[in-house]
Amino acid sequence: SQQGEEDPQALSIQEGENATMNCSYKTSINNLQWYRQNSGRGLVHLILIRSNEREKHSGRLRVTLDTSKKSSSLLITASRAADTASYFCAPGTSYDKVIFGPGTSLSVIP
């Protein structure tokens, strides 16, 4: 199993700005996922990037993966108040259980 470590722990930005969060992990993976959790709710899957991919886009989300540095980043462009949530990365392999890191708490101020 793998555990990702998100950085920063907390991030506060103004609406319209971009938000960047980072994830580091320790050993080899074949995919990495990002999840969002709104306050008091379950996690929602955002995006999956495979180890043979370097960048992936989904709407306002851009994820990068650098397997040589064992790191990933999640960029949210033109942030909105509704993006306020905690974000978790989940590095892993196909059949492994997923271990979530402590997450990044994002506050987007209107």
Partner: protein
């Protein structure tokens, strides 16, 4: 859309009680998971199940057991509830697959043990 339903959003129980948390998924997923989430500690895996009647311990199984008699249902059991088991409990399901599959979460059960 995948739906994962947890039986209660909020639950209050007393120490020493046997507590059952139920989780049902509607997508015929092979894998199911139970986590607890505490401030500053993130999500911690309690138990997971690869298939009916199969279970494996996660990182913090002490004080818990699980049951998976049917594919769609995964139950978490607190054998004798204690105050340190007050937490948010999250259930998730996932299809097994070649390239990693996303986990689908329920909305959680906030459990208070008095």
């Amino acid at each position: 859309d995948v739906k994962v339903t947890q039986s209660s959003r909020y639950l209050v129980k007393r120490t020493g009680e046997k507590v059952f948390l139920e989780c049902v998924q509607d997508m015929d997923h092979e894998n199911m998971f139970w986590y607890r989430q505490d401030p500053g500690l993130g999500l911690r895996l309690i138990y997971f199940s690869y298939d009916v009647k199969m279970k494996e311990k996660g990182d913090i199984p002490e004080g818990y057991s699980v049951s998976r008699e049917k594919k769609e249902r995964f139950s978490l059991i607190l054998e004798s509830a204690s105050t340190n088991q007050t937490s948010m409990y999250l259930c998730a399901s996932r299809s097994s697959g070649t390239w990693g599959q996303p986990q689908h979460f329920g909305d959680g059960t906030r459990l208070s043990i008095l």
